[in-house]
Symmetry: C3
Subunit: 137 residues, 3 copies
């Protein structure tokens, strides 16, 4: 149980980010290190000025899904960014912004939430992933 | 070839569920155990009263894609739920509903199709996944 | 660092294909073999007559995202198909069309770009993946 989980986090909707956060929290609780590479719309979602904005849901959510998720949030469910923040406090969680996505979206690290530890290329991410698990979300 | 494949099944469109079912069927045929954790819209799709309903396709499918998939279904292609059912008969396939998604969507196990073996948290899923492959669909 | 990365490439939008291409390029640079199975909309995107057509973006891209990606492409960013082509020149990259998706979409290998090496079933793909990493994009 000491293998690293490496996550390429690409999607920027709140439901997938919540799913990723719960995986990260679970891994932290089990003492599994997690390395996250933020690309495209996930990277956008980690912008400091809008991390808690409404980032929408997957297209198949539908009206009933939207209502259920809004109700859960109002009922005290933690925001995905808070779940990730807690996971970083208890576990070995490293969050890197993909350098190529930073260029495409014209972002600087100062634009990003403090959850993001640095900027990294894909090759470095793959080297760190080693023979562990790679999950694309 | 005895490593478990652990699948976080998040997406609820029929094309992705079909893709997942074919992977599961292939793994079953090869004697590879599969553990599935149903989240969000995939969990919704496993509701007993609508598992064979139309769950739509990925947004990029387009009109031509929709037509092709409808034609394949009419031409005798198996529904993804039937492919999963067959896979469970020949292989070691375990399907769990994510407890957090059950809460968010206000579902009880009685609401779910009999394909679902139980309810599980993410930590238990990750423990069972061990150092095997984790796939997010 | 000699483990194979096996990618089920399902999605057909240019942003996810670009993300996949960058992963493949990074793996090639590191000498990691990559095996890709093209399904559904990714397979559609590899059609010879439209590989460089506009395949759209993930739904959450939004107007600002679209503008940023268009600007990056005009600014000299490589097309994902060119990145994959270069990766094939320097690394051990094998791209197979999923036989089932070929049937559903009524495609023949002659319809596909020369990047595609052949047609394969899911079971063969899983056998080749062995105990290495499996990534679903």
């Amino acid at each position: 149980m000491d293998e690293t989980i490496s996550i390429v986090l690409f999607s920027g909707t709140d439901d997938k980010l919540q799913s990723a956060a719960v995986l990260v929290g679970g891994a932290a609780a089990l003492g599994k290190p997690v390395k996250i590479l933020l690309q495209y719309w996930a990277l956008e979602a980690f912008r400091a000025d809008r991390i808690k904005a409404n980032h929408g849901l997957a297209p198949e959510a539908g009206e009933a899904g939207r209502t259920a998720i809004d109700a859960a949030a109002k009922g005290g469910g933690a925001h995905w960014s808070d779940t990730m923040r807690m996971a970083k406090e208890i576990g070995e969680i490293d969050i890197q912004a993909c350098s190529l996505s930073m260029d495409v979206l014209k972002l600087k690290q100062a634009d990003l939430d403090s959850l993001v530890d640095g900027i990294e290329g894909v090759a470095a991410f793959l080297i760190n992933a080693g023979d562990g698990q790679i999950v694309f979300i």
